[in-house]
Symmetry: C2
Subunit: 270 residues, 2 copies
């Protein structure tokens, strides 16, 4: 099995297919990389490709007007970008943009649809993921309506932390404020509270997670439901920080996608 094959299975949806069904898809998948700020899906423009990230984070941004926008969902290596293409649709009014640099695989939307018709395992896994995204959006509606900035910030940090390796998130308050749909100084204040409680450490443009447990408490129930649903329907969700093989079957153990960060997180590897 080539290095590409290993890397493909870093995306948890592709991993969930298992070796046999992934094989079927494999020829269609082309490696890509994502840069922060890149727009993967533009509102009301045809979706030609679907992306399966193996690292990095993308945001689904709902917008009513350019000034009125808010994040409605987060996608990382557990998911895919271009969901509308699975739903017999060619485009969507929302946007999907890259928040954290990463890599992944691209497949032509019409090819993926064709394969879904042929392969029921693929069909099932991807539709289950749709269910998770739907629940994530609904939970975001709940959080936005009923939780304070502080709790929503804790929730957001947890959701991003689930999708990265290591504990460092490179986000400015400005960016956070856009995603949460609040004012920038509001984020500054909320950050201080979380920092004061030793949940995170914040430095200029960077945010380090110190205690997930405390953050989950701070999120006050706004975090966890879509994540649990993912685990129930698809499989293990978070980036595992304690083990090497990510809990993947031996045949699917993969080298790290970002070797430059490797020493920091897994000091004794390589």
């Amino acid at each position: 099995m080539s290095t590409w094959e290993y890397l493909k299975a870093r995306n948890r949806l592709l991993q969930a297919l298992g070796p046999h069904d992934l094989d079927m898809l494999s020829g269609e998948l082309a490696p890509v990389s994502f840069k922060r700020g890149e727009v993967l899906i533009s509102p009301n423009e045809p979706i030609t490709d679907v992306y399966f990230p193996t690292s990095g984070i993308c945001s689904i941004v709902a917008l009513a007007s350019p000034a009125n926008r808010i994040e409605a969902g987060v996608v990382g290596r557990e998911g895919l970008v271009g969901l509308a293409a699975l739903l017999s649709t060619d485009c969507t009014p929302h946007q999907c943009l890259v928040q954290v640099d990463g890599e992944g695989f691209r497949i032509a939307a019409d090819r993926l649809r064709a394969l879904m018709r042929l392969n029921s395992r693929l069909h099932d896994v991807l539709l289950r993921y749709v269910q998770v995204v739907l629940i994530q959006a609904e939970q975001t509606a709940l959080a936005n309506g009923r939780f304070s900035i502080e709790r929503r910030l804790a929730r957001w940090i947890l959701m991003c932390h689930d999708r990265i390796e290591g504990d460092e998130l490179n986000f400015t308050h400005e960016l956070l404020s856009i995603m949460l749909g609040v004012r920038r100084p509001g984020v500054t204040v909320a950050t201080h509270v979380l920092e004061g409680a030793k949940m995170i450490k914040a430095t200029r443009g960077r945010l380090t997670v110190l205690s997930r447990e405390k953050l989950e408490e701070a999120a006050g129930g706004s975090y966890g439901i879509p994540e649990a649903e993912y685990e129930r329907l698809i499989g293990p969700f978070r980036t595992d920080r304690s083990e090497r093989g990510d809990g993947v079957a031996a045949a699917f153990r993969v080298p790290r996608a970002s070797p430059d960060l490797s020493r920091e997180i897994y000091p004794h590897v390589s």
Copy 2:
């Protein structure tokens, strides 16, 4: 064609299938009626049946705890209840309950899934509806995060008005406050503003729409995107108040589902 056949096509998804594909489904559909307060889908309980309403309104309620809940979506005769069943899933953490009495048709979830595999038209229409619901949830996240009670109330009234016949909605402020996720007196105040601007008339437990145009203005861009997506992907959306046949092909013109309201809205029928 029997009266049941006419009634089935009152659901806009079934209507969108067209006579031929609806025929395929028809034997599986059993008539049901919904009463306000009924819970059609309970959190984390198996979804055995999917419902296609022909009248009435249901809410998709997102909840983190019994006290923390908010409406994340609205379903009427344009949609279906039990979406998770289409997504290779047996249950969902959210709730679906009846807000306005109505009628519709029930089909066993596994039968519907089987038919979706056989009939690509059915498959497409239903997945497109999933896309609309997803966008609705994302827009709700946006509205909850960035719009005032007043705008959200206007949005909510419009969404319900789209799904009923006539202009009267029987909702208490208490109920509205739960759906919008705000305090009850907040709804009272917002109602007064809309009433003062002659957008609605409010009496005890009842709310009459006077001007959709003004309401759409008051909603300030928070209304319309999922509705437009529905029309683009599936077909006409709103309950048409100006015509008799609802714009449906002659073969699908139907008698009203709720004969008791009939005279009020269609005075010369029957």
